[in-house]
């Protein structure tokens, strides 16, 4: 029999056997044993962030760029509580991740000991699985379970809380290759009868429409979606998380839908007679008023999580399946179909109200910056923060194959963008990352510049600075009589802090402020040249620019504010 090893040794062994090459971590009293063990380990890149919330967003960016389960390691107490926003973000956007938290020794749990919190209890509703290791003999099994659960089915974050003494007690040296989990059976089959029923509906539809969400990307089913749509001549609209699952220059691609979706997409959703939705949970930002959502349509819903089906929208043909297996079959069934009249109708809507682009302005137009980014960086991964810039990016960035659009969709977490861009760059060092962010969200995690600069990560940071919290300001403009309550970030003397250029200089990185519309492209081209580390570009834009069209929260998709 093999000799017993300590928990900390088994921990490192487990990560190596899982092929973990990067850990996003921040040290502290209850993980010093593990970090000591990692000091001796080879082949694992230790990314020392500057704040635990950012670590989790970095891990999200890494997971999105690599498709791998990301690993975060933090200490107990504040280290653990700081991760909560990130965990919730990962949960709502189905990102595979394991968060290891240190914990006080078993005999101190429940004592309100120094840096003790019940992190498993606190994160119960935002993790796919969470557990405190209470017995050294369970450590290997639990870590294996964590990896199995986080990456399969509908992916999500798993939290494993490891008390200090579990890390040092000697025990079983084996790390299992598989654990049977009796309460966990992700769906791997697809109901053929339901699929055939769905196919028949689509085939006989006069105005069919595909609504594709992030589940298509997670299942890597983009090619099957395209094949199916092309064979059947189906127009495709995407959710925010589904952006990019359909080539955006494709004639069948209608655009994004929802609160800030294209006019044509929302009209098509309202008028379609069969809606084939795949890998989306019908979030309220997509549906608007549920009573008036796709009122004329029979709805087919494919989702890996049966709990997502018929929750928000009553569905006629529910199909619990992975998007790939469903679309693969449907693509096999598919025969030619003529939807010419319907497609022309949709094109008519697009002509009637294309995405609005303010013209003849002396100021920089944020939509044009997005278009320029799209043109100059056709291969970069695009990361956004949350707010107006995020919606402009979703509207005006045209994604090519192999380009990821990494954004916080479900939780809408300001502060997500910069660390996620860092994680994406770490996960895929050969691919530049363009971060589109705002002056508000960027300030929520700008401390991470220390690692972006320190590691020389190829990130072009584009701050759309309107010196205001633009998205809320837009609501104030449209719905609150222009009473701009607490959305102006300028000081009482009218000055904006910080001076991002001088701030960037403190990190020895290139920075440039652009206030002339004619300089936008040139600045981006310059940044692209010899990209060796982060570059900061600050685009000064007007606080009065609006994201349009807009569907007011809770109203029907067809009630769009166009101007």
């Amino acid at each position: 029999m093999a000799l017993d090893i300590t928990g900390r040794k088994l921990f490192v062994k487990a990560l190596k056997e899982e092929g973990v090459d990067t850990i996003f971590l921040y040290p502290g009293g209850m993980i010093t044993d593990i970090t000591d063990e990692l000091y001796k380990a080879e082949g694992i890149n230790l990314v020392l962030g500057r704040h635990e919330q950012a670590l989790v967003h970095e891990a999200e960016g890494y997971a999105r760029a690599t498709g791998k389960t990301a690993v975060v390691l933090v200490t107990s107490g504040p280290g653990a509580t700081n991760t909560i926003t990130g965990i919730a973000d990962a949960y709502y956007d189905s990102i595979p991740m394991i968060i290891f938290t240190g914990q006080v020794p078993l005999h101190l749990i429940g004592n309100d000991a120094f840096q003790e919190v019940d992190i498993v209890g606190m994160t119960r509703s935002i993790t796919k699985y969470g557990v405190t290791v209470r017995d050294r003999k369970d450590l290997g099994k639990i870590i294996k379970m964590g990896f199995q659960i986080a990456g399969s089915g509908k992916p999500g974050p798993v939290l494993i809380d490891i008390p200090k003494d579990i890390q040092t007690i000697a025990g079983d040296p084996e790390y299992p290759t598989h654990v049977d989990i009796r309460g966990y059976h992700p769906n791997e089959t697809v109901h053929i009868g339901q699929l055939k029923k769905a196919y028949k509906l689509i085939k006989n539809a006069k105005k069919p429409l595909v609504l594709a969400g992030g589940g298509v990307r997670i299942a890597k089913a983009e090619d099957k979606l395209l094949e199916f749509a092309e064979k059947m001549q189906l127009p495709v609209t995407t959710t925010l998380m589904g952006k990019g699952v359909m080539p955006e220059d494709h004639p069948l691609f209608v655009g994004n839908c929802g609160m800030h979706g294209r006019f044509a997409s929302n009209k098509a959703l309202t008028e379609c007679d069969v809606l084939f939705s795949v890998g989306t949970r019908f979030n309220d930002r997509i549906t608007g008023d549920l009573e008036k959502f796709a009122p004329n349509a029979q709805i087919i819903h494919v989702d890996i999580a049966s709990a997502s089906i018929s929750r928000n929208v009553a569905v006629d043909v529910p199909i619990t399946a992975d998007a790939y297996s469903a679309l693969e079959r449907l693509a096999e069934y598919a025969e030619g179909k003529d939807n010419g009249v319907w497609l022309d109708r949709i094109k008519g809507w697009e002509k009637e109200h294309p995405l609005a682009m303010p013209k003849n302005k002396m100021e920089i137009c944020p939509q044009e910056v997005c278009q320029a980014i799209s043109k100059i960086f056709p291969e970069a991964n695009i990361v956004t923060d949350v707010g107006q810039h995020q919606m402009w990016a979703s509207q005006f960035i045209k994604l090519n194959k192999g380009q990821e659009f990494i954004t916080s969709g479900g939780l809408g977490t300001m502060g997500f963008g910069f660390p996620a861009a860092i994680g994406a760059a770490i996960g895929n060092p050969k691919k530049p990352v363009v971060l589109i962010t705002g002056d508000g969200g960027f300030q929520m995690n700008m401390q991470e510049m220390a690692i972006a600069a320190g590691m020389g990560l190829p990130i072009i940071i584009c701050i759309f600075n309107n010196t205001n919290l633009g998205m809320v300001r837009q609501m104030q403009t449209l719905f609150y009589g222009k009473r701009y309550s607490v959305t102006d970030l300028k000081a009482s003397d009218g000055k904006f802090y910080p001076d991002f250029i001088r701030w960037a200089q403190a990190y020895d990185i290139q920075a440039r402020r652009i206030d002339n519309p004619d300089m936008v492209e040139e600045a981006l081209m310059d940044a692209k040249k010899d990209l060796k580390g982060p570059v900061l570009l600050e685009f000064l834009i007007s606080p009065d620019d609006l994201v349009l069209p807009m569907v007011k929260g809770g109203t029907a998709l067809s009630d769009m504010i166009i101007k």
Partner: protein, 169 residues
Amino acid sequence: MKNRWIALYVENQVGVLAKVSGLFSAKSYNLQTLTVGTTEREDVSRMTISVMADDVTFEQIKKQLNAMVEVIKVIDLTTIPIHMKELFYAKVYDLNEAGKTEVFQIAQVFDQGGNVTVADVGPDSALLQCMLTERRNNELITLLKSRFKKIQVVRGGAVAIESISTSCR
């Protein structure tokens, strides 16, 4: 909105009760009663849960429970033959002799083979021990409330098991 019943097999582990009950509070589901105890297997517990819900919400509750890693099996008891009983105690205070006699009479009327008994008596009080269906318990409590000024009720929540199927009889 209807009252419905679910039985759950769950891992007998720390935090599982909190996870299951947390679902009901987090998603605003209307939990009526929840009982839990171990089964013939030490590592498995069984819960009996009663909820007030419409059809759509009830389906959603079952799916959400099924999705939990710690939940091994969900059984919908609403539409299958079951045996279900709830234990409760009622202490009746400030009784004169006539009142005490009445408590005994009520116990007799509700009793079916020893499942309603007077478990204890004092100079001016009596303690009823009842194991009836939840509905019958409701009726008994309503009656006690209408007849006596001061009562104290402790309910245990219902426990249910599927009937032995006719093919096994």
